[in-house]
């Protein structure tokens, strides 16, 4: 017998949850604690450390920490290393848990018991949640729970996490387990061929004694779907159709909501403007706050939809299939299909994309993936693309369901994706040279995504976006408004408003600063207003739009007014300041440039932290800036040579 679980010092019982990927571990964590977090259906969505808690009827507090998904305690990936360190008490910041809750999938016990049996050897009290017993029953699998408890020597509670079944018995079992001795170790805790074979041999015997399966006549539904989804020809076609639908939906479905938000912001801005006396304060509210924050706020529906679609792809199990399909292409650039999952997540946001690289075992593969994830066009680029496309690209129909605006947007996403593959190939042949690692990837069964968990993800991401709009973008909008408003320039009282505004802007602190940096962006055909907006957007890309909103003072007129203002803008010689060519060049700049403080911070941490982390983050920032400047310049030069713009 092992040693009894030590009494928690703080009085709160500490429980760590561990399980294979795709067992419903995170769903169970959410159900137990009520804490909102992402649920995944492919290896390793749970990459952030999340803690929650609940209280027993007697007032006892239980703290629960959700560990990353792991197949074993072999620690072959950073994810598994985190889990093992916490369970062994080797993680300096994390006290050793009092009880370990192992989540096993009742439909895949033969594989899931491997991790469970390893956890039983750590000298900690263990409780097993036998999850998805409903799915097992539907597939004709019956588990003799008392017999399994006898075999494993630990409490086992059947659960259906997605429906919240079995939670109360599970909570009671966790509290009771803290006073139980740790289970007796059966095998050495190593990963040698002999131990692994012996462990699986034992599991096979346990399954034979405790699990009954009714023979099924036909293949599973997942296999039938895979016959199409993984088909040599049909698979890639289906993938392209899915991606095209996602992007088309993001733009067409979001429009009515965007229009509603725009008129709402206009209404509120106008109403508040009326309450404030005419003067600098009204200007601050209308031209500063509402122009800046409002111009970014309208993109919330698109960002929410993009996150919803990416989550559906993850939870349904299709993401793993996409990785499988892309393996052939990814191998050409020196990575394997697994690297495609973080890249696809990068379409929503580079931060979770970079964190999802933790499931990649090989350090060089992982680093190369981290370096290129920010090239995938993220949701923060959407406001920039949408503004410029809306202003300068006509909605000329090309194909059924696709017009020139949609095609331009698609081209921007493709450009980023192709560049990511090319740069990854370059890194794998230079700084990160090494053999291509073969892929070992689990294809989880297809599942209906849970609307509740999709709603949670969309809600979380929307709150994050709104918080950013309310802090960084609000602060920058006020600063930029002040810089554009002061010092005051006296103008003739009979001057038209447009001329008065232009004179004021040109002589303001922002105008002077903008002209000082103009030589740096002049080779790209940009004027000082674009230069200032680009500079401001190094904090976050969407600030470009809010800065433009502030510069053009379209606070109470909305996004379409900003597009009109851009189209009407003239150079001193009377020619258009913004041509479609300059708009495309500017979008190309945004495809490549790394303008996001959060991405830099997460790269530093995930690339090794400290000096090493900073070095890789600097390399990433520098190569992306060089690429952005070079490509934007090339677009301008080639475009002009072709007689465009």
């Amino acid at each position: 017998m092992g040693t009894p679980g030590s009494a928690p010092a703080s009085g709160a019982l500490r429980v760590a949850i561990i399980g294979n990927p795709n067992t419903g571990k995170t769903t169970l964590f959410n159900a137990l604690t009520g804490l909102r977090q992402r649920v995944g259906n492919f290896a390793g969505v749970t990459v952030e450390r999340v803690e929650g808690g609940f209280q027993m009827p007697d007032g006892r507090r239980i703290t629960v920490v959700d560990l990353p998904g792991a197949y074993s305690l072999a620690a072959t990936s950073p994810d598994e290393r985190i889990a093992l360190d916490v369970l062994r008490g080797h993680d300096g910041r994390e006290p050793r848990p009092d009880v370990v809750l192992v989540v096993v999938d009742a439909t895949h016990l033969g594989r899931n018991l491997f991790l469970a049996s390893q956890v039983c050897e750590l000298g900690l009290p263990v409780v097993v949640a036998l999850n998805q017993v409903d799915a097992a029953a539907a597939r004709g699998i019956t588990v003799d729970v008392p017999a399994l408890i006898h075999e494993l020597g630990v409490p086992i509670v059947p659960t259906v996490a997605s429906r919240g079944e079995g939670l109360d018995p599970l909570r009671r079992a966790l509290v009771a387990a803290a006073t139980l001795p740790a289970p007796t170790p059966r095998f050495a805790l190593d990963e040698s061929a002999e131990t692994t074979a012996a462990r699986y041999g034992w599991i096979t015997d346990v399954i034979a004694r405790t699990v009954r399966q009714r023979a099924s006549a036909s293949g599973s539904a997942s296999d039938r779907i895979d016959a199409i989804a993984l088909h040599r020809l049909g698979g890639p076609i289906l993938f392209l159709v899915v991606m095209a639908l996602v992007f088309q939906a993001v733009f067409s479905w979001a429009t009515p909501v965007q229009d509603a938000i725009e008129s709402g912001v206009l209404g509120v801005g106008h109403a508040i403007g009326q309450l404030v006396p005419e003067g600098d304060l009204r200007s601050l509210v209308v031209d500063g706050v509402f122009a800046g924050v409002g111009s970014v706020l309208v993109f919330l529906p698109q960002i929410a939809l993009l996150f919803a679609f990416i989550s559906v792809l993850e939870q349904s199990g299709y993401m793993a299939r996409a990785a499988f399909l892309m393996d052939r292409l990814m191998r050409r650039v020196g990575l394997n299909g697994k690297s495609f999952i973080p890249m696809l997540s990068g379409y929503a946001c580079a931060v979770p994309g970079i964190m999802a690289t933790r499931t990649i075992e090989d350090p060089k593969d992982r680093l190369a993936t981290i370096l290129v994830v920010p090239l995938m066009s993220c949701s923060a680029r959407l406001p920039v693309y949408t503004l410029l496309i809306g202003a300068f690209v006509p909605a000329m129909p090309l194909l059924p369901g696709l017009d020139l605006q949609g095609a331009t947007m698609l081209a921007m996403y493709l450009l980023g994706t192709v560049a990511a593959l090319g740069v990854a190939a370059l890194f794998r042949r230079t700084l990160l040279r090494g053999p291509v690692r073969p892929m070992i990837l689990e294809l989880p069964p297809y599942r209906w995504p849970s609307p509740r968990s999709i709603a949670i993800i969309v809600w979380q991401r929307s709150v994050l976006f709104l918080r950013r709009a309310g802090t960084v973008i609000l602060a920058l909008s006020i600063v930029l408004w002040a810089l554009a408003t002061f010092p005051r320039t006296p103008v003739a009282p009979d001057a038209p408003p447009a001329v008065a505004q232009e004179t004021q802007l040109a002589n303001s602190a922002l105008g002077r600063f903008g002209r000082a940096i103009e030589p740096a962006v002049a080779p790209l055909g940009y004027d000082w207003k674009i230069g200032v907006s680009i500079l401001a957007s190094f904090a976050a890309r969407e600030v470009f739009v809010s800065t433009m909103g502030t510069i053009y003072g379209v606070g109470d007129a909305g996004e379409s007014a900003l597009a009109d203002a851009l189209r009407a803008e003239r150079r001193p010689d009377g020619t258009a300041a913004y041509t479609p060519l300059i708009a495309v060049s500017l979008m190309v700049f945004y495809v490549f440039a790394l303008m996001c403080m959060s991405t830099i911070a997460v790269t530093v941490r995930e690339a090794g932290g400290g000096r090493i982390g900073w070095r890789w983050a600097a390399i990433q920032f520098a190569y992306m800036l060089a690429l952005a400047y070079g490509a934007a310049w090339l677009v301008l030069v080639v475009g002009r040579a072709m007689g465009l713009g």
Binding site: S72, R111, A193, R437
Partner: protein
């Protein structure tokens, strides 16, 4: 190639990549980088395990203990299995 007594088809050893689709095979040896071998074993592809190839594409789709694994072809090249039937190659 070793042959044994059987009902209709000979028992033979071959790389997993060459074993017949749909036929059960027993892993007898794993020859690849240590960390890949370790990964394979914990995922259920260990010496003595029963696996079956579901489909062969650029990767191998393998059924292991009821779960679907995609294995890179060069990995499947290094896994020797004992199978009943004629190797597909």
């Amino acid at each position: 190639m070793t042959t044994g007594s059987s009902r209709e088809l000979p028992v033979c050893t071959c790389p997993l990549v060459d074993s017949a689709t749909g036929a059960e095979a027993t892993v007898v040896a794993i020859a690849c980088a240590d960390r890949d071998a370790c990964r394979l074993r914990v995922m259920g592809v260990y010496e003595g395990a029963t696996v079956s190839v579901i489909d062969k594409k650029h990767c191998l789709l393998v059924d292991v203990r009821g779960t679907r694994l995609a294995l890179g072809a060069e990995l499947a090249e290094g896994i020797t299995v004992l199978t009943r039937g004629i190797p597909a190659s």
